[in-house]
């Protein structure tokens, strides 16, 4: 009896899990399938079977002079990696400063950083654009990664991680061993913080990779645009096509949803 119920339970669990997996992966599958189908094929309607136009599609994407995808990928990679690196390293450095040292205004400094956390980017965007224009950094990649140095959320994460896993005795031991303050940070603290750094590096990377708002404001040169800007261009073009095509069927709106 017991065996039977546990058997049934397993089956139910598998069915639920398979269904959830399908939900998660279906859209990726459609994405891949549509990448292999030609324009008219896609307009005809939705299909589970891949087409034969993958290479053609790829070529037309890569050769589109208005949308330099490759340079977009390169720019996005540069900006995202540098953002992740700067955000994690400098946030850890700031957190260490506030965690390991005692100084006047330590508490106000902490509160100030926390206050920056509640400021949305949009609020300060105008001032930011003004600033970088005056600094001569408009239409360059610098303003896309340099501000990651001040990442209050990452700072807070690092600070709490230090509280839980960096005993000050270790820092003191390093000092007695003859380690300078900066060396202590780089050789003792950073290796201990590795798990936290990895987690925050992933978050910072993804956030920067998906960031559209600031790059759209700062970059006007086509060769310096990052992927999210190109993607928006493609999307606009799709919508335009859709609005002007006669075959405005339900299948083509599915296509728009899947590809854009």
């Amino acid at each position: 009896m017991d065996k039977k119920t546990s058997h049934a339970r397993t089956i139910v669990a598998y069915i639920v899990l398979i269904f959830l997996t399908f939900l998660c992966l279906f859209f990726f599958y459609i994405l891949i399938v549509n990448a292999t189908r030609s324009h008219p094929e896609i307009q005809k309607g939705f299909s589970m079977i891949p087409g034969h136009s993958f290479m053609k599609n790829l070529k037309s994407v890569l050769n589109d002079a208005n949308i330099p995808v490759l340079s977009g990928i390169k720019n996005s990679l540069i900006v995202s990696s540098l953002s992740a690196l700067l955000a994690t390293y400098f946030s850890a450095l700031t957190a260490y400063g506030l965690y390991a040292y005692n100084f006047k205004l330590k508490k106000p400094a902490f509160i100030f950083i926390m206050l920056i956390l509640v400021m949305p980017t949009q609020v300060s965007a105008m001032g930011f654009i003004n600033l970088i224009t005056k600094m001569g950094m408009i239409n360059t990649l610098y303003p896309l990664f340099l501000p990651s140095i001040a990442a209050p959320a990452v700072f807070y994460f690092m600070y709490s991680y230090m509280q839980s896993s960096l005993p000050l005795e270790l820092v003191e031991a390093a000092r007695i061993d003859g380690c300078g303050e900066f060396k202590t940070f780089n050789r003792i603290v950073i290796p201990i913080m590795k798990p936290a750094l990895a987690v925050q590096a992933i978050f910072a990377f993804v956030q920067s990779w998906n960031n559209y708002f600031i790059p759209a404001l700062v970059i006007s040169d086509n060769s310096k645009k990052t992927l999210p800007i190109h993607r928006t261009t493609v999307k606009r073009r799709c919508l335009y096509l859709l609005q002007h095509s006669e075959a405005r069927t339900s299948s083509s709106s599915t296509w728009a949803r899947c590809t854009c």
């Binding site: 005993p167 270790l170 031991a173 390093a174 000092r175 007695i176 061993d177 003859g178 380690c179 290796p191």
Partner: protein, 363 residues
């Protein structure tokens, strides 16, 4: 090699709390000094001031002839063993021990030689490639010692290094540290709250309370001639018995009266206390049940609340005239709980303390 001198050292924290009000102390070269006291007595702060991890508010601190007040820790030529060992978790045992030498730009082969020499003394050879988390408490402790050893420091600082170990290992490490001290021939400063550790390891013991040195002397002297009530109570296990007594004059001499007992004590120091109350201190082993000790004016007849048989001797918890006493008597003279026992007090070893100042009157 170097001794350590404190001259009128004051330590006040930023929040205004003064932990060490005025410290004067001289630790000689190659000496093993134990700082002991209850928690919060300033012993760790004192050690951290030697290390340079805590700033000195005023006064001077010397290591050897050099004034060290503003010298950073790394230039003091000291090594420290922490209570939590503070081993670098991401480095192997070998790296942990070699770290300080690497920073000092010691040649590779010399580092190797020193680390292996230290590892051999401490029995760490098989574990050199392991990370600290793969070691037991005792092994970590030895790595921490090894890390300090390889640097050939002038002063060895140990901050409660044994308190995270189990009882058996603690005894073992105690003798190992003592041995190490003899082998290395450097100055050791050792902080503990455990009086057994202090008594067994120290050349001299500094008993502290509220940041003030109570007494700084050899273990034997601390035990035999404590300078006040605090030291008398802190050193020794089981604790010294304190009995409230009244001083009376009897003929040429004096007697201490409590309960029915009248203990003869012919000491001139008691003269100002005639008619006043004092505190008598008697060590548990200074009560004698053996017949040859009985004499006139040193006996008490006490009721046994509880007896603990330890084999060769027996601890008796007594109730005498409303005061709780502990004694240690040879097992064959001991009696069982709920009986009465007649005991003689060794008046030669009796301590008398002033009730107000808590200072020793005579002993």
């Amino acid at each position: 090699m170097a001794g350590i001198t404190f001259k009128n050292v004051v330590k006040t924290y930023d929040n205004g709390v003064t932990v060490v009000p005025d410290l004067n102390m001289e630790i000689k070269d190659k000496e093993f000094v134990v700082l002991v006291g209850p928690s919060g007595c300033g012993k760790s702060t004192t050690l951290r001031m030697i290390a340079g991890l805590e700033s000195i508010t005023s006064g001077d601190m010397y290591i050897g002839d050099q004034r060290m007040n503003s010298v950073p820790p790394k230039e003091r030529n000291i090594a420290m063993v922490f209570q939590s060992y503070a081993l670098y978790p991401h480095m192997s045992v070998y790296k942990n021990m070699a770290f300080a030498l690497e920073l000092a730009k010691t040649p590779k082969d010399e580092i190797d030689k020193k680390v292996h020499a230290a590892a051999e003394i401490l029995g760490l050879e098989p574990y050199l490639d392991r990370k600290p988390k793969a070691l037991s408490g005792g092994q970590r402790q030895r790595v921490a010692l090894g890390r300090a050893m390889v640097r050939n420091p002038e002063v060895f600082l140990l901050d409660e290094p044994l308190s995270n170990l189990d009882a058996k290992l603690r005894t073992e490490m105690r003798s190992q540290i003592s041995k190490l001290h003899k082998q290395l021939g450097t100055t050791f400063v050792y902080v503990t709250h455990d009086q057994t550790e202090a008594m067994t390891m120290g050349d001299r013991i500094c008993v502290m309370k509220d940041g003030v040195i109570q007494q700084f002397d050899t273990p034997q002297n601390l035990y035999d001639t404590p300078c006040n009530l605090f030291v008398a109570g802190f050193i020794g296990s089981p604790q010294m018995n304190f009995i409230n007594a009244k001083v009376e004059k009897e003929g040429e001499g004096y007697v201490l009266c409590f309960g029915d007992a009248r203990i003869k004590m012919n000491r001139r120091e008691l003269a100002p206390y005639v008619g006043k109350e004092v505190i008598c201190g008697v060590r548990p082993e200074d009560f004698h049940a053996e017949p040859q000790f009985f004499g006139e004016g040193n006996e008490i007849d006490a009721y046994i609340d509880l007896d603990e048989m330890m084999g060769s001797e027996s601890y008796l918890y007594l109730n005498y005239a409303g005061q709780k006493l502990v004694t240690r008597v040879p097992a064959r003279y001991a009696k069982k709980a709920e009986e009465n026992i007649k005991l003689a007090i060794d008046t030669e070893k009796l301590h008398v303390f002033d009730k107000d100042t808590e200072l020793t009157i005579c002993q």
